[in-house]
């Protein structure tokens, strides 16, 4: 069986002595959307951080395009084509929108203006507000800046930790549309979502984590159809 594009394979680890992840596996294929859902404290965000190298693992492996990257630090993973949007503190609030994007492209030495234009085409409101400090924007617009910053490295995998946390339902739908659009350009998307139902609807693959282990795995549609998943996690 060939490896998925990015896989966190049987990951075990945690912050202190106790493990938060107990051998869970998360993977995403090229150009697809994988969504991690689950109850509070299930280790969803921890799993994301582990895949990005922000948490040391006691067991398991992270592989990108078949290459073992378990020991790389986050900065080196950025250079390998991974990008991460944290749940909070994900923008440079005192800097303008344009400068946020420039900082996203910090490692690039080539001309990144086409990428900035691409981000502005994806999120047109940011073009109008490009000279405004990012910290003065609305919650939804800040999330757009955060995603835009991550896209500036031209990543192969985009990892989003609860991108719709704290935004209105309309803005959430809009953000999900943009995420689908990003995936269509061939970028793999791995995200943690609190709004499980909406997220699974756009997901190619869904993971239900409970206490750091895979409880259910399947395509988004399968999970939505599974009576047990519906009853326990989607509220009927």
């Amino acid at each position: 069986m060939s490896d998925p594009f990015l896989i966190g394979d049987s990951m075990t680890g945690g912050y202190g002595a106790a493990n938060i992840l107990n051998g869970c596996t998360i993977a995403v294929e090229k150009g697809e959307i994988a969504v991690i859902v689950g109850p509070n404290g299930a280790g969803k965000s921890t799993a994301m951080k582990a895949v990005f190298g922000m948490l040391g693992l006691r067991g398991g492996q992270i592989r990108l395009e078949g290459e073992d990257i378990t020991t790389l630090n986050p900065q080196d993973r950025v250079a390998k084509g991974m990008a991460f949007v944290p749940q909070t503190h994900n923008i440079f609030g005192s800097m303008s929108v344009q400068e946020n994007l420039e900082m996203g492209a910090f490692l690039r030495r080539d001309d990144f203006r086409p990428t900035i234009d691409m981000v502005y085409d994806l999120f047109p409101i940011l073009r109008d507000k490009r000279h405004q400090p990012a910290g003065e924007l609305s919650g939804g617009q800040r999330q757009q800046v955060a995603v835009g910053r991550a896209l500036m490295t031209q990543p192969k995998v985009l990892m989003l930790d609860e991108p719709t946390a704290g935004v209105s339902p309309i803005v959430m739908d809009e953000l999900f549309d943009r995420i689908i659009e990003i995936a269509r350009t061939g970028i793999s998307i791995l995200m943690v979502e609190q709004n499980a139902r909406q997220a699974l609807m756009i997901a190619h693959k869904g993971y239900v984590l409970v206490q750091g282990t895979n409880r259910f795995t399947g395509t988004g549609a399968e999970l939505m159809a599974d009576p047990e998943v519906r009853r326990t996690f989607l509220g009927g």
């Binding site: 900065q75 950025v78 944290p86 440079f92 609030g93 800097m95 900082m103 910090f106 490692l107």
Partner: protein, 336 residues
């Protein structure tokens, strides 16, 4: 005519000295605010860094003078300034390597770094006194006045004279150039923007691939340039004395806090606020009042709110008031 005389007296005794002093404080406060914003601690050693930089520059100035090199009407110290900055930069980077880097690695609380800087302050203080002594040193040479009081009186026919010392003019010009360069660097260049990003959100800066070691190094480099320039300008305008520079720490911190710690534009504004308050409160206004007020309303005394001995108290009072009522300062810096 009386009003003009009053204006000239005001300019001569309050405005010109306060602008020069404000420019020196602003340069000092910029260094403090950069360290606070980027390295995240209050650097108590800043006054003595200024003394160290001024000392290096004075030593080089003496060397140049002994070789007969001078800058004509300008002070020789301006020629020596780049060398002073370079030596201070090396010294600061060595200090960072020996002291601060350890605490940064262990992610120590800012107050620990501040206490470490207190130790650095004592060491620097000792080094400066050991090398150059504790005496008052006057190292300004070149032309003494841009405009002399007598020339001014003869040219305008006024009773009051306006004197602008060349060191005051140089202070303002050099400070303006230094600030313009700094703001250009922070807002327009890739490295400058990465420093602002690092100050804004360290974790995200790391995720974006910004190299923290480089940011720290460039910060010390800029701080060395600012502190040395401020120290040399202050020494040219007044005189060099190690103890005075140590005392400058208070007005400099007051300036940075008044403007908002971490905000460069605030540091500049704060420098002038403190300078004008200090000079304004300790100036004897009798002369100005004599020109503008009718005879029977003129003050009997000197109309001086505080003796000049208490000028430090002015910055201290402002510092306390700002921390009580607007801890983020004029330009919404970080609160302490």
């Amino acid at each position: 005519m009386d009003l003009l005389n009053a204006l000239v007296a005001f300019a001569n005794f309050v405005f010109v000295p306060a602008v020069a002093y404000g420019a020196q404080l602003a340069l000092g406060a910029l260094g403090v605010t950069l360290i606070y914003g980027i390295l995240r601690f209050s650097n108590f050693a800043h006054g003595d860094t200024m003394a160290f930089g001024a000392m290096c520059t004075i030593l080089v100035t003496w060397g140049l003078q002994s070789w007969g090199i001078s800058a004509g009407p300008l002070p020789t110290a301006l020629l020596a300034l780049p060398v002073g900055i370079a030596v201070t930069a090396l010294f600061l980077m060595a200090t960072d390597r020996a002291v601060y880097r350890f605490y940064r690695k262990t992610r120590a609380a800012p107050v620990i770094l501040t206490m470490a800087s207190l130790g650095v302050m004592f060491v620097m203080n000792g080094i400066v006194r050991f090398i150059i002594g504790v005496e008052d040193i006057n190292f300004a040479d070149g032309a003494r006045f841009l405009i002399g009081a007598r020339e001014f009186r003869e040219a305008t026919g006024l009773d009051e004279g306006l004197a602008i010392r060349s060191t005051q003019a140089i202070t303002v010009v050099v400070a303006a150039v230094a600030m313009a360069l700094l703001f250009w660097f922070l807002n327009r260049t890739r490295t400058g923007k990465s420093m602002r990003a690092f100050a804004d959100n360290e974790d995200l800066a790391l995720l974006s691939g910004i190299n923290p070691g480089r940011v720290v190094m460039v910060t010390w480099l800029i701080v060395a340039a600012l502190a040395t320039t401020a120290g040399v300008l202050y020494g040219l305008d007044k005189s060099f004395k190690a103890f005075t520079y140590f005392q400058l720490l208070l007005p400099i911190f007051a300036s940075a806090v008044v403007g908002g710690l971490g905000s460069p534009i605030g540091a500049v504004a704060g420098g002038f606020v403190i300078a004008f308050s200090e000079v304004g409160v300790t100036y004897a206004w009798k002369k100005v009042a004599g020109y503008v007020m009718p005879e029977n309303l003129q003050p009997d005394g000197l109309a001086q709110l505080l003796s000049t001995d208490y000028k430090i108290a002015v910055s201290f009072a402002i510092l306390v008031l700002v921390l009580l009522f607007r801890p983020t300062g004029l330009f919404r810096g970080k609160s302490v």
